[in-house]
Each structure stands twice: as C-alpha cells, then as structure tokens.
Amino acid sequence: MELLINAIIAGLLLGGFYAAVTVGISISFGILDIVNIAHPAFIILGSYIAYIVNQTLGVDPILTAVIALPAFYALGAMIYQVYYASFEKRGQDALRGLAFFFGLLFVTEVMLILVFGVDYRYVQAGYIDKTLRFGFVDLPLRMLVPCVLSLGMLAMLQLYLSRTFTGRAIMAVSQDQGALQLMAADPIKIKRIAFAMSIATASIAGSFLIVIQPVEPSVGREYIGRVFAICVLGGLQSLPGTVIAAMLLGIVESITATFYGPSWAPAVAFGFLLLTLAFRPAGLLGR
C-alpha cells in the first residue's frame, strides 16, 4: 500500500514535469496547428546547454535555462520564419511540414551524438540528492522542484494567454485569422511569437529533464509519444487540460514502472496515445 501511494505521488510529480514538456506542443500543435515533432529535440538541446554551463561554470541548470530563454526564443522565431516561407505560404500539404520537422529532430539528435557521444550526462546541484520525508511518503527534491516550477510556468502562460492582448491574439489566431487581421494584428507575427514561445519553454523543460534524470541524445524520442499523448488527451488547446492529462499519464507510468518494471514504461504513453486517438480524439475536456 505504501508502495502504491509513493508510486502515485511520484507520478504526480512526474506529471508536473511532463506538463512543462508538453506545454510547448500545446502551443505549437494545439493552438497553431503546426506538428512540431522536433520539439523533444529542442528540449534535449536545452538539457545539454544546461549541462555544459553546469560543468564549466557550476551554474544551477534551471537558472541557466532561464538565461538561455532569449536564445531559444530567437531560434523558435527563426524556425517559424523558415517554416512559414517554405510551407504555409506556399500552401504545401502537411506531408512536407512533417518531413521538415522530422528532419530537424533527426539532425539535432545526430549532431548531439557527434559532439557529445552517447554517454549519459548528469548535472550537479544542491537539491538533486535530497529527499523530503513525511512518514512513509518520499518527496525527492529533484522531482519536486521541477514540478512546482513547471506548474508555476504553466500558470504564468495561462494568465498570459487569457489576459494580455498578444496572448488573446494568439488564442484568436487559431480560430479566425480573418477576424484577427481586422483587429489590426498581423497574424504571421502573432504566430511567430507563439511558436517562439513554445521553443522557449523547451529550454526550461530541458533543464528540468536533466535535473530529474541523466540525459543522452536519443532520450528525446521517448518523449514524442508522451507529449502528443498528453496534448491530445488534454484537449489540444487547453493548458489546464494539459496539466490534468500530464498528471494522469505520470501516475499510470509510475504505477506501471513500480509494479511491472521500467522496461514497460515507454509503451504506456504510446499506448495511451493510440487509445485516445482511437476512441476519444477530442480529449478529456473535449472541445
């Protein structure tokens, strides 16, 4: 019983982290309808940047990620420009857009392998080895800190999307580009801002990742299924939905790993995804 409760709690913490990983997709896929399957690659990139700075300068990884935010934002903006000029403008079919991002995912992973090799990388930080204990409940800090920060980040994003002009324009652009133009906002610029933001979240999520677990280049691919499973299950656009779905997935994965062994864990997310797509594509809080 204690094992179960700990598994559930671990799952909740994991879910909080998963929400941070997924929010970028909620924006690029849920709101902008861009299937950026390269998103996990940017997360891993964020992890490696946090790793290098941590190794050489000893800076806390999450702090590094915050500092690296503008760079990731710029990268996202640039990628959107290329994507827009090559695909959206020309009205190309989705096939080429998907192939483009797949190529990016692939190239990023291979370049990381060439530069860093396939060894697992860790970071050092004060809270990584500590665990809070309440009776039989374990709360490892390396999971608690990212979870709390992640929820904070999502809350900030939700506020931004619902309260600010740009944020609401972003939500509007997914529904009606024409109306947006009438409001004197440039839809392309709005979409670029949104996409850049989604890549920026990857920087933060990457630092969370390397705090939680050691990282090597192919880890990103495990997350593709997870992020899309959570995004779809959470109802694509809804940030609160994303959090709930992330927690759910986290719990199921945690219980599976605890009772059936970790080698089954990757299948859980993907199994989730297949089932969701087959039976409830509108997600839990369906549109």
Partner: protein, 355 residues
C-alpha cells in the same frame, strides 16, 4: 507494351550487376547491394502511403522489424520443433520447418500487412497529422513488446545461423541478394500498377482534397486502409530476410532510426509522385551512405541524410524527379504530339504538373 520494357529492363540491369559482382569475386558488393535494394523496397513501400496518399508514416522501422521478428520466431520454432510441438504434430512440423526465405517473406508480409490494417483502422479517420504521430507511437509500442518477449531473444537479441552455401548460386549472400532483387522489382511493379490504375487516381484525390474526393464517390477510408496494408506488407517483406543477412538481430538494430529516416528521405528527395522517385532516392542515398560508412563513420552518414532531407524539403519539394519533370514539361507540345521527353514522362507515369 511499356510494362514489357520495364520488366525486361529491370531484369537486364539486375542480371548485369549480379554478373559483374560475381566476376569481381568479392562478396562486398553483394552485401552493399543487398542494403541498397532493401532501401528501394522500403522507399517504394513508404511512398505508396506517403507520396501517393499524403499520409506520413514515421514507423517504417516497426513494419520492417515485424517482418524480421516473424522470421526469427519461425526460425526458433523450426530449430526447436520437439520443444514446441506435441509429438503428434512434430513429424509434420519437421517436414515444413524451418521455412525457406521466400516463404518467410510472404509470412512477414502478411503479418506486417495486418498490423498496417489495424493501425490504419484505429487512426485513419482522423487527420493526417494524427496518423503520423500514431505511427511513431506504434514503433515504440512494438519495440517494447519485442524487448519483453524472450522467445525471440528480447533485448539480448537472437542469433540466426545461416547456411554458407546454396546449391546453384554459391555463397548464401548472393542468394539473399537475388531474393532482394526480385523483391525490389515486385515492389516497384506494385507501385507502377497502382499508379496506372483506378486505385492510383483514388490515392491522388485523397492526397489532393479528401473532402472533394468523398463528394465524388471515392471511398477514402477504404482506400487509405488498402494503402496502409500494402505499404506495411511490403515493408514487412523487406524485413523478413534481414535476420539471415545480419546473423544476429537485436531490437535496437531492427527498430533503428535509420530505417525511419531513410524510408522518408529517399522518396522525398527522389520525388514522391511516381515510382521513379523512391528508386532514384534509394539508389542515390543508399550509395552515398555506403561510401560514407566505409570512409567516414555511420553517424555522419545519417547526418548527411537528415540534412539532405531538410534541404530538399525546403528548396526542392518536388524532389529530383520533380526537377527533371519541370525540364520535361518545358519540352512538351500543347498539341499533344509526342517528343522523346514526353515519352519518357509517360513511361515514368509523370502526369503533367503532378506534384
């Protein structure tokens, strides 16, 4: 009449290469050639669903591996008949098992085809993007299942001991090479036949505008399932002889990323609208990769493929065949008289302006 020349031509080319490689006396060309031919099958198979219908499959590795692992499972069954069959059936089983490679190919194709059908049924009612993501999911689920299935070796892998020599032909690798050669011709023939048939037109409408296709009476779901099944089956057929080629099969090599990226990159770089595209892409990229693996390293050759994919998708979305086609169209006459350019275009099923 065109078909006759096609089959004759491929037979001659294949025979010439085979004779040349034999004359060299070195088996390397057969090993390398096998890999390239394998890619031809994978690229052509991918293109049936991806290029013709517009539905991207990221899980080519899954279908390929299903073919490989069916062979492994049947091989294990054959090697241990007494352990897995009751006495009454053991006698018959010993007569049939172990199965020869061509039979394994057919079985691998059937199993993969069924998996393609199943995946399609679950996801093809949704938008193309969801199907693509689902195929990624499928690859991981299947890999996890195989890793946990001890009968085929799980994560430790499985050894396949292959005979050294085969009657008439000689070295076993040459036998495998011939089989893969025949399979490539079959795959391309299937693609060609589809292109020229009603099915091919149906696929094109699905790619162009599914809603309008439905309104015209095209049963889009059914056709999509047909495409997924054929594509999956061909990939499984390509995978079936693989354990015999490589001798030792473990999940990370069977499900390797190289298959996913190559089966997408080759048709997209070669051109997605006709059977010529995947062939050109597979030959080009296959040969480049063989050279790069030998001279530099295998990680770098994957990088080259990835960069070429991104590059072509941005700059030359119609692929090599598309570039050639634009050149061809430049020479076509509007009154319909045939020039050598337009004859070639017809041979390659390049319709005017087809993407």
């Amino acid at each position: 009449m065109r078909s006759f020349f096609f089959y004759l031509g491929s037979l001659l080319v294949g025979a010439a290469f085979f004779a040349f490689a034999r004359w060299l006396g070195n088996d390397y060309l057969f090993f390398a050639g096998y890999t390239v031919l394998q890619f031809i099958v994978l690229a052509t198979a991918w293109n049936i669903l991806g290029g013709y219908c517009g539905y991207v499959n990221f899980g080519s590795a899954a279908f390929f591996a299903v073919g490989s692992y069916s062979s492994v499972a049947l091989h294990k069954l054959g090697m241990n008949v007494d352990r897995y069959f009751p006495e009454s059936l053991a006698g018959i089983a010993k007569l049939i098992l172990p199965l020869n490679v061509p039979t394994l190919i057919i079985i691998g194709g059937i199993v993969s085809g069924l998996i393609g059908l199943g995946t399609g049924y679950l996801t093809l009612r949704l938008r193309g993007a969801f199907f693509a993501i689902a195929t990624l999911a499928l690859a991981v689920v299947l890999q996890t299942l195989i890793v946990n299935w001890d009968f085929v070796g799980g994560s430790r892998g499985a050894y396949i001991i292959r005979p050294a020599e085969v009657p008439f032909i000689g070295h076993y690798i040459q036998y495998l090479f011939l089989i893969m050669l025949v399979l490539s011709v079959v795959a391309i023939a299937v693609a060609r036949i589809i292109e020229q048939s009603r099915l091919g037109y149906g696929f094109a409408t699905i790619r162009d505008d599914e809603l309008a296709a439905e309104a015209c009476g095209v049963p889009t779901l059914k056709l999509k399932l047909v495409a997924t099944t054929i594509s999956g089956a061909l990939m499984g057929m390509a995978g079936a002889p693989f354990p015999y080629y490589i001798g030792y099969l473990e999940p990370s090599s069977a499900f390797g990323l190289a298959y996913a990226v190559n089966s997408i990159a080759m048709p997209m770089i070669g051109g997605t609208t006709s059977w010529v595209g995947p062939l050109v892409g597979a030959l080009l990229l296959g040969i480049i990769q063989q050279v790069a693996t030998v001279t530099i390293s295998s990680a770098v050759n994957l990088l080259i493929v990835g960069l070429l994919l991104v590059g072509f998708v941005i700059v030359a979305p119609k692929g090599i065949v598309g570039l050639v086609q634009d050149y061809m169209r430049g020479g076509a006459r509007t009154d319909g008289t045939k020039t050598w350019r337009s004859r070639f275009a017809i041979f390659a099923n390049m319709r005017p302006g087809a993407r």
